[in-house]
Amino acid sequence: MSRQVTFKIAYLDLSARTFTVRTTSGSDFELYLGGRGLGAKLLFEGQGKGVDPLGPDNQLIFTTGKFGGTPVPTAGQVTITAKSPATGLYFKSNTGGTWAKALRRADWDAVVITGVSETPVFVSIDDERVNFHDASGLWGRTVRESDTEAQRRLGGSDWSFATIGHAGENLVNFACIMTSLYHAAGRGGLGAVMGAKKLKSIAVRGSGQTTVADAVTLEQEVQAVLAKARQSVKAGLLLEFGTAATIEMANEGGSLPVNNFSSAQIPGGHKLGGTYLVENAYMRQGSACSACPMGCHKHAVVREGRYQGHSGGPEYETLASLGTSCGVTDPEPVLKGNELCNDYGLDTISTGGVIGWLMESAQRGLISSDRCYGLDLGWGNGQSMVDLIHRIARREGIGDLLAQGTRSASKALGGESWKWAVQANGLEQSRVDTRVAKAYALSFAVNPRGPDHLYAQPQAEFGRTPEARRLMERLMGSDKYCNSKILDGKPELVRWHEDMFAVTDSLGICSFATTTTYIVDESSLARFIRAVLNVSMSEKEIMQAGRRTVVLERCFNLREDPNRKDTLPWRLMNEPVSRGPHEGMLNSKQEMQVLLNRYYALHGYDPVSGRPTREVLSSLGLLDDVKGLEEIII
């Protein structure tokens, strides 16, 4: 069976307002599977080192996977790739909604955007017709306002949008891109890349049909996955409560970031959990991404009072960032904060991270509240948290400092404020207390994005479900390694999760299926690939394709900044958990070194620097395939 699979890419130059079509062929599918893997290769080859993330030469790359448009469960994902203005490094971000399916039904695999438009612009992709439109009247509006107006101008009701809000327009360093109104391609400030290009929105619709090689076998495999979903407690929880169901567990278990990671449990924290939110009618069923049975996305409503409003979400990370990380346990201001972040296009994790940092800085006397609109910056003030979101999105007053992210903001504020800037390599840490979860600690340190969960998500280290325990047994021979506090087995676990996550992003499906619930495994993916594309790939070859992408991403970062370290925020490496069931735990330098050493050894990297060697790059086939890769070899 031939493995020649073609990718059709729309190249848009916003400076020249031109559009060209390129079709790749050859081995890109076999080597990278497409999607995120293709995006990594396009980023590496298409721009040299030292590109200004907010300048014309930074590519903004949208890649769907070959499963997009088919009913492979969860096949609604798009990966957006660019150099990040927050980290200055490789960045990928994923989102769902309906955009990826629409692009595939329009018969495109990817869109690459370069240049900078002179004036605000939005793009429409209507099957093969690609057009540039004046975005005046959309620029300066929220995501919801913009999509509503753009739909009115374009006509028809079946457009899917990828849009930025005020935050992206104002180049907030953690601005995000929103698809289908409420689905965020978050982290890393890719919304600012889009805003710097003066690109407000990309509207897509496709009238085509999707044909697969073997629809009968595909249906059988879909049924097999659905049967697993019906057995999976996690899948059921995602449907009923979304990711908010994790809040109760994290709070009870002492792994929930509270007050800027200065403690890990908070009384009343359950009010931000899925159970409370659903019971009190704050949260109900929302929009699933295309082809996803689990439909984790919820819809939140505050019916009256000063926080009245409604929006998609909230996710666990949002509840833990805007909520507990700022000491807030009242759901209403947190839901308002979620709504504002969606409308402004702001990453909720970094937003909560930088607000928590400001609160702590004020409490430690480094900044007075008259520099902050007189706001009370004590822990738990939900109104202050909400007010600051407006200021950040609009870069007003103190918001202008906060919009730079905690790394830059703490440099500017000075003193010891860098110590409680809970960030590494320019990215605020996702809301997992890695001091009590060692596989997460390792995965955060080696993640090319920064200390963040959407790269590996090694939940199996907790061993809370039979699926998780089975995976650990498969990898390590025993489920005794399912203990988040030990180091053994964690590098192996992280490596598997990284590879599988890359495969997932590259095929255009959701990590909740292949990790988290573990209802889609390597053998299922091989069957799907054959049924969709009539391509035969072994499980090993599929995971190898994921590995290739992980290594290539690491290479981009090494080319960009050879001094970049695999590390965690200072607080987690230097301040032990102060109280609660995990008192005293720490991500010490020694522990991290043990984990990193084993991780580097597993990958065949140089044991001291963690660099991929010539042997590794050659044996993966990267050296032969990726132009310019040679230069990163020492």
Binding site: G236, E248, Q265, F512, T516
Partner: protein
């Protein structure tokens, strides 16, 4: 002497709690001396085939661990994701 523990239930487990006071999340429960975690769970009428995830004072424990007065038993379903 009976042991008095605090029980917190979440997710689909809530439905097994007897109807009663408004705050359904957290209540004190009395059990006979020497009662185990497993016995507490069945005393709440949670069926054997319900896949629960429990924490005792914030940490995972074995079901036959004996309870002491003042213990906090959290019973929920295994959630995940961000």
């Amino acid at each position: 002497m009976p042991v008095h523990i605090e029980i917190r239930v979440y997710h689909g487990i809530k439905k097994y709690l007897p109807a009663g006071d408004g705050n359904g999340f957290c209540r004190t429960f009395s059990l006979p001396d020497g009662a185990s975690v497993a016995q507490a769970i069945s005393a709440l009428n949670i069926p054997n085939d319900e896949k629960v995830f429990t924490l005792l004072n914030g940490v995972m424990c074995s079901p036959d661990r004996a309870l002491n007065s003042g213990d906090v038993l959290s019973i929920m379903q295994p959630a995940g994701g961000g």
